[in-house]
Each structure stands twice: as structure tokens, then as C-alpha cells.
Amino acid sequence: MKLAEIAEKLDLTVFSGENNLDKEVTGGYASDLLSDVMGHAKEGQIWVTLQTHKNTMGVASLKDLSAVVLVKGFAPEADTLKLSEIEGIPVLGSDKEAFELCGELYKLLG
């Protein structure tokens, strides 16, 4: 499913990367531990987290993830947004908690 469709169906805020929403999402990974994501997330997945700092962009780019979704209404830091545009990895957001958002994502992608 395309990122744009997911963003629309789950009513996600698009903080950055509006031009990259045509990416295909292959699945999802939820974790707030960067090494866990480094070790186990897979290319094309959407990453659900509450980490807002720019190292998330570094990890997402190195792992070729499709996007990052911040939960619980968190917003990305300014340098995260800057790096997001450079790396072409959109940062999205939701007011929902991770459990709830993952459930909805799983229904869409599963």
C-alpha cells in the first residue's frame, strides 16, 4: 500500500516529505530502541516510534525504511525535519498511542 493511502486512512499528520508519499509500504516495525530497529526492521517498512530526534532519520535512511510515524501527538525536532527532507523519508504523526496505531496499521497492511 502507498504511504499516501495509509496517511489518509489513518488521518496522519504529514510533518515532512510530502513529495515522497508515493512510496510503497511493505510492513511495519514498532520500537523506541534504535539498535532494535537497526537489527530487525526491514526495507520498506513504516517505523512507529515516539523518538523525535534526528538519529531516527539516520537509522531510517540506513535501513531504507519508507517512513517514520510519531505517536501520541509528538512532533519531530527541527533538525529531524531537515534531515527527513534530505534523506527523502517522510515523518508522519498520530495522536493515537502506539498500541492503537499499530493495530490499525496491521489491519491495513496485514
Partner: protein
């Protein structure tokens, strides 16, 4: 092909820069993507370890026809108990580092799982040298 990257302890804004450069180089060289993925995981973890634990360090990258050799030499506190440091979940990272989602005790295991060869030499009070080798085929 050889590269060198300097890494400053505590500077998380630059963490991952060397990994990103090496990834780009390997892509340009047409290295298999499954191999690049393993290099990226191992190098990123080793790079972040210098940022999180050492005062400073240097990453030496040596790309040859059949593989990549990474040597990460840091000046830092060293590792008093290497087997313990290798245990999944064990970490000595500070609370502020953990809040960022680092220091989960998964770094060294991630390196070990993705490397074809991996060694740690360490001297308490002086520093640590990691050697990582990953074959292209």
C-alpha cells in the same frame, strides 16, 4: 579503497555519518544489497558505541575486491568485562543516552550477528579497538 572517519564522543548529531558514507560507496561499487545491509548494521552500532562510550575515535575503512574491513579505534574507558558487554540487554550507557533509544544492550550482539569476523581488543582506562570484516560473496 581506504577511508578514515573521525568520531567525537558524545556528539550524537554526527552519529551515523560514516555509516551513511560507506553505504553510499558500497552501493556505487555495486555490492550486493544484502551484504550492504549487514555492513550498515555492524558499522552503525560500532560508530554509535564510540559516540556513546568513548572520548573520541577513528574509523578505518578498507574496501577490497572481496570484502570490507572495518577497524574502529577509540580512546575511552575500555570494556572491563567483554563477555558481559556482549550479553544481549547489558549496557553501561547513561540515562540520557538511553532516553534517546540508544544503550539497549544490543549493539555488540548486532555487530557480531552481521560480521563474518569480529574481534574486540580493549584496555581499561585507555580504549577499545574493534575489527569487523564482512565478505562480499
Amino acid at each position: 579503497m581506504q577511508f578514515e572517519y573521525k568520531v567525537e564522543g558524545g556528539d550524537f548529531t554526527m552519529a551515523g555519518v560514516a555509516s551513511s558514507q560507506v553505504k553510499k560507496t558500497l552501493k556505487q561499487l555495486g555490492v550486493d544489497s544484502s551484504v550492504i545491509k549487514r555492513v550498515v548494521v555492524a558499522l552503525y552500532e560500532a560508530e554509535v558505541n564510540i559516540v556513546a562510550h568513548a572520548y573520541r575515535g577513528v574509523i578505518y575503512v578498507d574496501i577490497e575486491g572481496d570484502g570490507i574491513k572495518l577497524k574502529l579505534v577509540d580512546e575511552g574507558p575500555g570494556i572491563p568485562d567483554v563477555p558481559l558487554a556482549m550479553t544481549k540487554g547489558f549496557s553501561t550507557a547513561s540515562p540520557s543516552v538511553r532516553e534517546m533509544g540508544f544503550g539497549a544492550g544490543m549493539g555488540l550482539p548486532n555487530i557480531s550477528e552481521n560480521a563474518d569476523f569480529f574481534s574486540i581488543e580493549t584496555q581499561v582506562g585507555q580504549g577499545t579497538t574493534l575489527q569487523i570484516e564482512i565478505n562480499f560473496t
